[in-house]
Symmetry: C2
Subunit: 340 residues, 2 copies
């Protein structure tokens, strides 16, 4: 890639759009030296841009007349709104005018639109949404997929998720020979759902560095680099972890406030608390990567603020630089991850 990296940003997507999306786009353009295409209603985008100093930044406005709202039914919205910011942005990726697409909008809509516009990488049965998860691993993270693209999966999809996770961990997280595991409810081979038990022999024969089953507790402890599961379980897990972290930090605050000495102590420890909060903050991770479609697609949290959008763009940049799509396509080409 010789041209500067160009990201198509859905300026209209997310609970706090357009303000948060556009501010995040500006932030990323400045911090990472990227071109960030702001896709959406030109009048709205222009009005937002006047609030910021954007001198010297590459922030072209790309018009799109429609918006897929947060609570629209994904496939219906994608079918009916051909000029949505998502559709237009994805078309930029498809035609090579952008390197990647980033949105905090309706995540089902984003995935449906991406599949519809970009199509699947040849041989891939189902795209999967993957995200990094804080852990004790050397790189600080475990890659978890699927976290929400497929509520119903088949064993062979899990095999392909494992391959995609392998490539992502190797290329983007720079983990050599990533350890791949299957999420289950016990380490023993005969434990787990029928799905897990059927996927197990496929993963064993995959040639990947497959380490077997792991349990829910083993994701943060860093037993594996890539953990594979269906999109229902992965999504419940991810949101559960966020909820537990929030609950714990709130409970800690309450316990501290109830004790005068502890309150004094907590003031001294404030920077440590802050660092911990950041460690579990989804805004730091920048959203999930939709792997398996013919292009780079990053789906950020609907509640994303500008900082989360900035980081989602960073994820898209890393995937672009590390040629995630080409790598997966080549991997599929060599036949190992092919399933019928």
């Amino acid at each position: 890639m010789n041209h500067p990296i160009t990201i198509a940003l859905d300026a209209m997507g997310g609970d706090h759009a357009p303000e948060a999306a556009i501010r995040g786009g500006i932030w990323a353009a400045r911090d990472f030296g990227l071109t960030v295409q702001l896709v959406g209603l030109p009048a709205v985008i222009e009005a937002e841009l006047t609030k910021h100093n954007v001198k010297g930044l590459n922030l072209p406005i790309i018009p799109a007349s429609q918006i897929i709202e947060m609570h629209e039914h994904p496939s219906v919205a994608v079918k009916n709104k051909k000029d949505s910011s998502m559709a237009v942005a994805l078309n930029l990726v498809k035609t090579g005018q952008s390197d990647a697409f980033v949105t905090a909008g309706n995540s089902g809509g984003a995935m449906a639109a991406a599949l519809f516009t970009l199509g699947r990488i040849k041989g891939i049965k189902r795209p999967a949404l993957g995200t990094i998860f804080p852990s004790e691993n050397a790189c600080g993270y475990t890659f978890l997929l699927d976290v929400g693209a497929n509520t119903e999966v088949r064993p062979e999809y899990l095999l392909q998720f494992a391959f995609m996770g392998h490539y992502y961990a190797e290329k983007v997280l720079q983990v050599p020979q990533p350890r791949i595991a299957l999420l289950s409810i016990g380490e023993e081979e005969d434990k787990g759902s029928q799905l897990v038990q059927e996927a197990m022999p496929m993963l064993k024969q995959s040639g990947l560095n497959f380490i077997g089953n792991v349990e829910g507790k083993d994701i943060p402890s860093g037993l594996a680099d890539v953990v594979v599961t269906d999109g229902f379980t992965g999504n419940v897990y991810l949101k559960g972890a966020q909820g537990v972290a929030k609950f714990l930090l709130k409970a800690l605050e309450r316990e501290i406030r109830a004790r005068p000495l502890a309150t004094a102590g907590a003031l001294l420890a404030r920077s440590a608390f802050k660092a911990l909060q950041n460690r579990m903050d989804y805004r730091e991770f920048g959203g999930g990567s939709l792997l398996g479609v013919n292009g780079i697609v990053v789906v950020a949290h609907g509640r994303s603020d500008a900082y989360a959008i900035r980081n989602a763009i960073r994820v898209a940049k890393q995937a672009t630089e590390n040629q995630v799509v080409t790598t997966i396509a080549q991997g599929m080409g060599n036949g190992k991850a092919r399933v019928d």
Copy 2:
């Protein structure tokens, strides 16, 4: 119930048995004024008892010549070991010589043995393992089931889990009109797996205080009093939460140690940290209750220490006092939770 409550404790079950089990049994007998039957190899139990002052406590030894080991295949072990501590203890419950059975042994074995010996409550399709989970609710907990008894479930099982959770929350947690929710990946009705979408209308028509779908983050935040899911998802969730809590507390310790001022502060805040740690400690909750079998069965964590065993016995005591089995049986009798 006029006689003092009698608990049949598997003295041989758990990673730290017999020491931890027996010490926990003694502790519970003393703290709660219970009779705790120590079931297992008499010579082993007697040798342990000599290490403690058990004067005035009711700790009868009930001989059982076999042990179901932690890694045995549940149904095979139950079939082959008719004189295991689990089988003997469950038989005491069946014949009315004990009010409840408590074990930290092979959890699959415990569930299989309970089902085999006690049978299901009339009308119940599948027993479920339920546990309290720390949350922002008034009582401090949300009741989550199934957390591991059934890896594959059908929508009508979820309906019955909801009824059993309702009775448990009402009777044991003393929550009036408990709010029941279905664990899913979005609040919208059309989100979630096929299983969740099929269970939804059944729960709506159940007459229970059903509040709809909740996400993983909503369990600790206390949006519902009872959250219903399949045993695979529930188990992954529960262990994931334990893992995340452990990870966070470790990370906090590390952040604090890296800062001299914070280290000083943390010393002052130590009691607050300790309170928080206890809040998330599985040892406090005392293990899961197997609901739907004809008797009270509490399955504690395999890693249970004496304190965890003590608390598992407390859970069994509460279930006995609040007549959980009779209540579920009566509920089934009135036909609302009956499915064909």
